[in-house]
């Protein structure tokens, strides 16, 4: 129920509405719950409303931390991902 996904704002319209996109799918949602939002921002969309703006710096910092953990893990000699199935992502 509380699932929400990051989508990118591609247009801002009247009445607090805007168009967001993910993987080619576009959707009209309400941006009224956000203080400020610009075209190009990523927002977390839930039941037709953008609930929060995704902080790109924080997202990149989190991903960077994961990358460092993976590097440290391989350096420690524990093979965490056999070559034949990495790189890869889990299904969406």
């Amino acid at each position: 129920m509380c699932l929400a996904i990051p989508m990118q704002v591609v247009a801002i319209g009247p009445d607090g509405m805007g168009t967001v996109e993910l993987g080619g799918v576009r959707k009209e949602v309400s941006l009224i719950l956000l203080d400020e939002v610009s075209v190009g921002d990523h927002v977390i969309v839930h039941v037709g409303f953008a609930l929060s703006r995704l902080d790109r710096d924080e997202a990149e910092a989190t991903l960077q931390m994961f990358a460092e953990m993976a590097a440290a893990d391989s350096a420690a000699g524990q093979s965490i991902a056999p070559r034949n199935d990495a790189p890869g992502t889990l299904p969406s």
Partner: protein, 379 residues
């Protein structure tokens, strides 16, 4: 797609899981409750439990608003849908939830009731504007994520002067439920399991912020780590909880910093505060009567309160006698311990609420975990 797929990277998931295994102390117990159904679903879908050492146990919490709604409220929505002249608007999650007497909103629609599935609360307002001769009722359910959208819908309907729009309000609050699991005597009598730490809600926290959890961390000495719903988020939160427990800390930490701040979404909080007030008590399936755990429309919006506009049944309806949803919602039992699980109760023919919503513990286990569990127990 970057901010979705990157958090599902297989290699990184294995690295974080390896870090958890390396840091867990074998003699210590790590009972971690993931409050949210979104986390329950991610854990089952990506098989995360299988990556963890045996003494790290994930306990599914009551954080699925579809699952915790008592049957009498579903009966209320069905009654509304049967009322001549009413269009009942509901999120898709609620349509198949069984009410009493083997009925549901979907069956009520098949029998002639006007039930519309809406994606946004604003769709219900638009329906009210387009159908001035009909009464449009929004079956409003959900935690703090869906509450601000309902508030916006109420304000827009008021601004547009719509007199045929009302809300059947079933919005519930996350912090009071967590507190009730930890310390309510009534819940303890029903049976609970000890919880050492919490994986905190993702998008609920985007709205309310990290601050409301500071009370549990301090007063009840349980660490809380707020986590996103992707597999890497959940594993990283488990690692952070393991580290806190190892160090004897009980703090609120935020793994989901890309979407959650300490104060949350102030604008959404203000809108909610303007439209809703606390209910003195609300019945949760599995937890019973929880004080100050739900919202109702303020007196100034009483004319838009469906519970005042329509006569609704309020008699409590017991769960199916063999259904273990209540114990499962408290983390006291596992889905496979219910004798209806995967026999009489399946996603196609759900008896209990935990089987209806994909985020319910039973539906998640049915879809992703039951054959793995069988192969593990096979000789």
């Amino acid at each position: 797609m970057r901010y979705l797929q990157a958090f599902r990277d297989r290699g990184l998931v294995r690295a974080v899981a390896a870090a958890v295994r390396a840091e867990v102390q074998p003699a210590r117990r790590y009972h971690l409750m993931e409050f949210c159904g979104g986390h329950t679903h991610a854990i089952a879908r990506y098989g995360l439990a299988a990556l963890l050492p045996e003494n790290v146990r994930l306990i599914h919490g009551p954080g699925c608003p579809v699952c915790v709604l008592p049957i009498e409220r579903i009966d209320g929505a069905i009654e509304l849908a049967r009322t001549p002249g009413v269009i009942l608007c509901s999120y898709g999650d609620m349509l198949r939830v069984p009410g009493s007497g083997r009925t549901s909103l979907l069956k009520t629609r098949a029998a002639g009731g006007d039930v519309r599935m809406v994606y946004s609360a604003l769709d219900a307002v638009a329906l009210a504007a387009a159908n001035p001769e009909r009464q449009v009722v929004l079956f409003a359910i959900g935690f703090e994520t869906t509450t601000p959208p309902t508030a916006v819908a109420v304000l827009q309907a008021r601004a547009a002067g719509l007199r045929n729009f009302s809300v059947f309000c079933n919005h519930v609050l996350t912090p009071s439920a967590i507190q009730s699991i930890l310390e309510a005597p009534a819940v303890r009598d029903l049976g609970t399991v000890p919880v050492d730490g919490f994986i905190g809600p993702a998008h609920v926290s985007a709205v309310i912020g990290c601050r409301p959890y500071e009370y549990f961390a301090e007063e009840l000495q349980r660490p809380v780590v707020i986590a996103g719903f992707e597999p890497l988020d959940v594993l990283q939160a488990i690692l952070m909880l393991v580290r806190q427990l190892n160090a004897g800390r009980a703090e609120v930490e935020n793994e989901y910093s890309r979407a959650v701040t300490r104060t949350g979404n102030r604008r959404a909080q203000m809108l909610v505060a303007g439209v809703f007030e606390l209910r003195r008590a609300f019945t949760w399936r599995g937890l019973g009567l929880v004080p100050y755990s739900a919202l109702q429309l303020k007196e100034s919006f009483a004319d838009m309160d469906a519970e005042r506009r329509f006569p609704l049944p309020s008699r409590p309806v017991p769960d199916h006698p063999a259904c273990e949803c209540g114990a499962i919602l408290r983390g006291f039992k596992q889905p496979a311990e219910c004798r209806l699980f995967a026999t009489a109760c399946t996603p196609d023919t759900p008896i209990g609420s935990c089987m209806v919503s994909p985020e319910g513990a039973c539906a998640a286990h049915y879809a992703y975990g039951r054959f793995r569990a069988l192969s593990e127990t096979a000789p």
